[in-house]
Symmetry: C2
Subunit: 120 residues, 2 copies
Amino acid sequence: MPLKDTLNAIVSSVDGALAALVMAYDGIPIEEIAVEQAEFDLQLLSVEYASVLKEIKRAVEVIKAGELEEVSIATAQTWVVVRVLNDDLFAALIMKRDGNFGKGRYLLKLKSYGLARELS
Amino acid sequence: MPLKDTLNAIVSSVDGALAALVMAYDGIPIEEIAVEQAEFDLQLLSVEYASVLKEIKRAVEVIKAGELEEVSIATAQTWVVVRVLNDDLFAALIMKRDGNFGKGRYLLKLKSYGLARELS
C-alpha cells in the first residue's frame, strides 16, 4: 500500500488523530497526512520532535539497551506516538490528548511493518 | 507515604520492574529503588534519559502544546515510563521489555500525585 494510503488509514481510524507522518531524523518529512487544523503548529512539532528523537536514539545507543522501537510523549494538549522504521526514518501519529491513544499506538505499530517495507 | 515506600510499592507490584526513581532534570537522583540486576547500567540509563527529558521539555515549550506530562521509551530490552512531577523533578519506572507496561504506566501515574505532594 502506498505511504499516503497507509497514513490515511491510520488517521481515519483513530478518534482524535490530528496527523500521521513518516519523517527522517534530520526533520525532513517523507510523507504527511493532516486531518484537521490543530491549535498549534504541526510542522514545528514534527521538526522539534525529530530533533528530540535523534537525542533519544543517541542515548539508547550509549546505554546499550537494544535498538530504539517506540516513543510516546504526552502533553496537556497532545499525544504523540513514534515508531522507528529503520536507521533513518520514523513514523509518528499526532493525536489530541483525549484521542484514542491505545488504538493509535496499536495501529501505528501494526502498520509500521508495511511502511518500513514500502521504504526499503 | 515516604518516597522510598511509594517507589517500593510500584516496583513490587509490576511484573518485570527493574527500578523506580525520582530524579531532577539535571540527572541528580532524589530517591531510587532497584529490584534486580539489569544487563545494562541503570545509573547510566537514568542520567542519559534525564538529559533527553530536558530536551523533550524544551521542545514541548517551543511547540506550546501544553505542559509535558508523560514520556515512554521502548527499546529491544527495556520499557521506561516517565511522569513529570513538577518543574524540576520527574518519576521514572524502568521495566524489562516483556514487563507489564500497562500496569506500570497506570501505577506510576496514580502514585505520581502522592510523590509530587511528598516533594512540595
